[in-house]
Each structure stands twice: as C-alpha cells, then as structure tokens.
Symmetry: C2
Subunit: 350 residues, 2 copies
DNA sequence: CCGTGCCTTTGAATCGTTTCATTAGCACGT
DNA sequence: ACGTGCTAATGAAACGATTCAAAGGCACGG
C-alpha cells in the first residue's frame, strides 16, 4: 500500500513530461503552456505529491524558516511575541519554528545546533545566560541573529528590548499624578536587572517631585503568595504609616498585595490606596479591582525582531540596531476611580 | 570574510582524507583510526563545520523531527504538554518543533504543509475543526499522526485525551463527600462538548446520591467576569435558597464566583459554600482562598502522545490506540478546611 | 523553400551528505 | 615468497529538486 514517497520524477512520468517541466509548473507557471500545466497539476493531485523541502533547500542553499528560541513558551509575553513574529514572518513568506529553552542553557544550545543544521535563515533568541560566546560563534559562520528582550553589551547583533527604567518611571509618575505621595516599591532583592531597572525609574520619578517619599519593601519572591505577605505586613501598620500608593515589580506581587489589604484591613482601592503592577498579565484585568499595570509592547517587539532579522538577511553588511521600546501604561480601577465608559453617550449637561 | 558555508569536502581537503572518511568520523567513529579521527576533528573545529541537515535528510529519506501543532501556545495546558513532549522526544533522539495554529484553520493547514514538506517523522496535532479530511490525506501519504486532546471518531489514528465526564463526576463526588447536597453547576450553554461532558459527569454523581440536587446556572462566557455575574446573582439569594456547593466548568468562572460571594455576601469558603473549578490553572493555587480544581495529566499526555507516535513510526502496521486519561482532583482550601501540612510532625496525642 | 524569432520543453549538472562495494596496507602463518 | 585475514580508507552512486543552456516546434516574412 505505502510505497515510497512520491517524487517529482513520478509526477513527470505520469504526466508524460520532463522533470524540469514539473519544476517549472511549481516555480514558474508562466513559462508553461496551459495544457501542460493542467496535465501536470492533475498528476500532482492524483499522486498526492508533496515537495521535498530537504532537496529544495539543498539546492537553494538556504531555507525559508526562522528559528525562535524563547525562555518559556508558557509565559504570555513570549507566546504573544511568538504569535506576532509568526504573523510578520508569514507576510514575508517565511515560517517561524519555535523552540522552548525552558531557561536551560543545554536546551538552548541544542536548539541553536538544530536550527543551524537546518540552515534557518536566521534566529531570534531570548538568551538564557551569557550571550557572548555562543552568538559570537554563530555570527562568525554568517548566521544572522537578533536578540529578544536583551541587548548585546558589545552591540554585535541587533536586539529588541524594553526600557524598564522608563516603565518604573511612568508607573510612579502615574501614582504621583493621582495625588499620591507616600509611595512603596515592592520587589525582590535587586539581583534581577529588570527589577533593579524598575526601581531606578521609580526613584527618578520620586526625586523629581517635592514632598514625595519612596520606601522599598523587599518580597521573598515574585509571586502572589509573597505579595500577600508583604500586603499583610503593610495592612497592619498604624494609620499614619500607611502608604497611599504601592508600585509592585510585577502583577503577581500586586495581586497578592491587593488580596491582603482588601481582606485584612478592608482598605478601599484606589481611594485609600492606589496600586499598580507590571507586565499586565491576563489576569490583571479581572482582579477584584482591575489592576493598573505597565505593559510591554509585545506584538510590536515580535514584528520588529523579525523585521530586523529580515533586513540583516537581505543586507548582511547593514548596521546592527538596538531597538528599545517604551512600555505602555494600562490604566484600570486600582489607581483611578471609575468613570463612565468611553463608549456611552455623554449626558446633556443641565 | 564570509565565504560560502563550510562543507564536508572542505573538511576532507584540509584533513587530507576522502569525503567518506569524514562522514565516517561523524557517523561511525569506531570505523576510523584514532589518529585520523583526531585530525578530522581538528579540521572540523578549525573550519567551524556544521552538518547540512538538508543533505543529510535527503539521503536518509526522513528527519529526526516531530511536528507539534497546538491551538494556542499561550494556554498553559499546551505549553506544559509541549514541554513534556520535547523532553520525551529528546530522550528518543528526536526534536520537537512547535507550530501555533491560534485556533485558525488556515494557519493549521500551513503548518501541516510545512511540516510535511520538511518530512517530519510524524505530527502531533490538536486540531482546530473537523479532523477528517486533512488527516485522511496525511495518512494516505503514510504520515503518522497522533491527535491530542481529541479523539478521531473513525479511530483512524491514535489519540490522547481526557475523560471530562469522569472529571465532572469526581468534582461533584468530592462535594458530596464533603457533605454538600445543594449543588450548582456553572457553565456556558452546552455547545462546547467539554462543558457538556463535565455536566454529564456531574449529573451522574448527583443521581447516585439520594437527597442531593443539582441546579444548572448558565454563564455568558468562560471568564472571570461572567463568573462574577453568576456569583453576584447567587449571593443575593435568600438564605434558604443558597447552594452549599458550586462546581464551575472552569477555573476562571470559579474565581469570578469566589470574588463575588466573598465580597458581596461575605460568605465563608468552604464553611458556608464549597467551590470547585476545572483545569487547575496556575492562578488557582494563589486565589484568596486556594481553589480546588480538576487537572488534566498534562505531562503524561505529552509523553504518551510522543510514545504513541514513535511506536507508529517504528511499526506502521501496529494498531492505533485511543488513550483516554482520567483527570486528577487537586484538593485545596475552597472545599476542605485547612489541616496541618502533611510534612509537619504529628503532635503526640494526650 | 528557407531563415528568423519566439515560445515551450528538455536533459544534464548541481547542491552536501551517506552508503557500500572496493582497494590499499599490513601482519602473520606456512 | 605467498596466500589469508583484517582494519582503514577510498570514491562513486544515490537522494530529489532547481536551474540553465540548448534543442525542438511553429508561424511568418522574404
């Protein structure tokens, strides 16, 4: 029943033409007369012929595939970025294949090897640890690489990333604009550069504003539970020592804090306490009080990464570019009292 | 600087051996003398030679790659399944490449085409719509396919899936075992087979138990907000009409219900009302009251899917198998009053 | 009737690797 | 000296598609 896969030669035989003609039907239909084209197409359909990409690529020297290696496909940031990258690649006739390194350098290395052997056009990598040596080796062999969510300190390859300092700054600016003065920053010990950057931005905003004070509270982890612990501690302070605005280094922490202050102390959000998170995870919009957050422009990053890569593929000599996006503030109920929905007709003033 | 990629011939020339010898060093090192092996290896390192997978595959006739097409990489079920599949494949010397159909039949079709052209060993597919025609075509050409989270009604290909009837049954059994008798099922209009199955299971459990009653409440969507609406309606009932147990068709609904009943009516969970969800999303464990839920055995499903596929690849004539897993109940605070953690030493009695 | 130009089709060369039948080289026993 | 047995290395033939120079067919004008 199952003979070996159908090749272009089988198609040629059945259609009674030469191999080259079949190839022309597939790649340059205009060169072939309508009658022949139909006959060949019929043979293709009859036999269920499927092009062999390996042979194709061997001849062509390169594929139409882009490799994307992410730290964690489960992370909404990466899955959404991947989706955008796929769309952008598709518009340019390429296909994205995804590899999940799971933060493991070994797995990352395996995917890099596999993709290189597959002669992908180029790779988008959100690297696990030290980018240096591995990317260096790739580049030496002429493989275009764009870093995602990370910049190459030596500027050897293009990258797309987000300015977390700006994100921290805009978060706290937003609290200040809402009239808050006693601000608390919740984060883990600043070994993660991202957390440190967000704090730096927060500090800048506070320093620019007379009369505002910033207190840093350390959490055990970037989780809801750790946030709840912090929230409980804060909720038990005396009235004079309560903050009126809290900026958490991510949304999970913020949700934990929210749970604690609502239930233990019965504080009102945002009236007594404004709360803002970071990352804008799916869940934030449907927290008890919808959570204001700072969002990375994920889709834009995915598309831009692909565009930078395609540019490098087309013109290998072109200059590398470090694109750094500003994040975006998403205002919700945890910092702003509810107003009528924008879509509803404005009532006549009277 | 960038000449064309290094081929096995370049390596052979530099090492002063024949092409076949280099190939032997790569594929059958034992056949080559130690001295030659070292010399060739040295040349490989010097030149930065990377095997061309296309040529390799062309000769071999098939790749060491498995294609996995999922409905949504952002969905934790699929990302975790993908991770498990990758691990299992790696143990068997294969690599998983991931395609995200995003519930779009067109994208699904494109990935199927790309993977087939790449001559993957086989595919794991969680199909968008009607499986029939497309899979039929694949099978006719001898491509092994295993369905994920869906069974083929015609039993033409193997599959791994979950028994949602059993899941609904065990959820309600759990409520009954905790002494609840007035049970509410919250779900959308039963157009989704999964929701319908869960309800069927719930019905079975209630019917087996004298004195238990099941009420079905319809939600507008499977979201937190829809759940909150349902919860508000329930929370406003008179005391005699309140249920003492609620089973929601997914965790998002359950979290919405929880938010509403806790805040509006101030009911205690689980004392006044036991609550159970479905899917065990990450967030459930860190809800205000940790949510009891029903979990699919994701890792097991991923590994099993790969194993079924590998079996079919090895022995194409072997029988197809429909593997249906029972889900697993994850007990948390929303149905069970807190007890000392299992790990803590039991205090001496008396 | 023949040359010219145009469109269609052909067939061979090519890509980089693996495989396998041969050959080369060498030591050993007779 | 010569055959035997063995390991190590060789080189040519695949694999399936693309490309391109060349040939074939045909109509038309001279």
């Amino acid at each position: 029943m199952d003979s070996r896969p159908v090749s272009i030669k089988d198609v040629a035989d059945r259609a009674g033409v030469a191999i080259g003609t079949v190839s022309n039907v597939l790649n340059h239909p205009a060169r072939v007369s309508a009658a022949t084209r139909e006959r060949v197409q019929g043979a293709i359909d009859d036999l269920g012929f499927v092009r062999n990409d390996a042979a194709r690529q061997l001849r062509a020297g390169q594929s139409r595939t882009i490799g994307l290696i992410v730290l964690d496909v489960g992370n909404p940031f990466f899955s959404s970025l991947a989706r955008a990258a796929e769309d952008c690649a598709a518009e340019n006739g390429s296909t994205v294949v995804l590899g999940d390194s799971g933060q493991d350098a070994g797995r990352e290395a395996r995917y890099i090897d596999v993709f290189e052997q597959q002669r992908v056009q180029g790779m988008l990598i959100s690297p696990v640890g030290d980018v240096g040596p591995r990317v260096e080796a790739l580049r030496k062999r002429g493989m275009p690489v764009v870093l995602v969510d990370r910049v190459d300190p030596q500027r050897r390859c293009s990258s797309v990333s987000v300015d977390d300092v700006a994100g921290g700054y805009m978060a706290v600016r937003h609290l200040l604009a809402a009239g808050r003065r006693r601000i608390v920053f919740v984060g883990t010990r600043a070994d993660y550069r991202q957390v440190a950057d967000r704090l730096t931005g927060a500090r800048q905003a506070v320093e620019e504003h007379d009369g505002a004070v910033l207190e840093v509270v350390e959490a055990d982890a970037m989780t809801v539970l750790a946030g709840r612990d912090v929230g409980e501690a804060i909720a038990q302070r005396r009235a004079g020592e309560l903050p009126d605005g809290i900026f958490c280094a991510n949304d999970l922490l913020a949700i934990g804090v929210m749970q604690a202050v609502l239930l233990i102390r019965g504080l009102r959000i945002p009236e007594d306490l404004a709360l803002i998170g970071y990352d804008d995870i799916d869940f934030s919009a449907s927290a008890v009080v919808p959570l204001t957050s700072v969002r990375k422009p994920t889709e834009l990053m995915g598309r831009t990464a692909v565009e930078l890569l395609l540019e490098e593929i087309e013109r290998p000599a072109s200059r590398r570019r470090q694109v750094i996006f500003d994040p975006e503030l998403v205002e919700r109920g945890s910092t702003t009292a509810l107003v009528p929905a924008a879509g509803s007709p404005a009532p006549a003033v009277g």
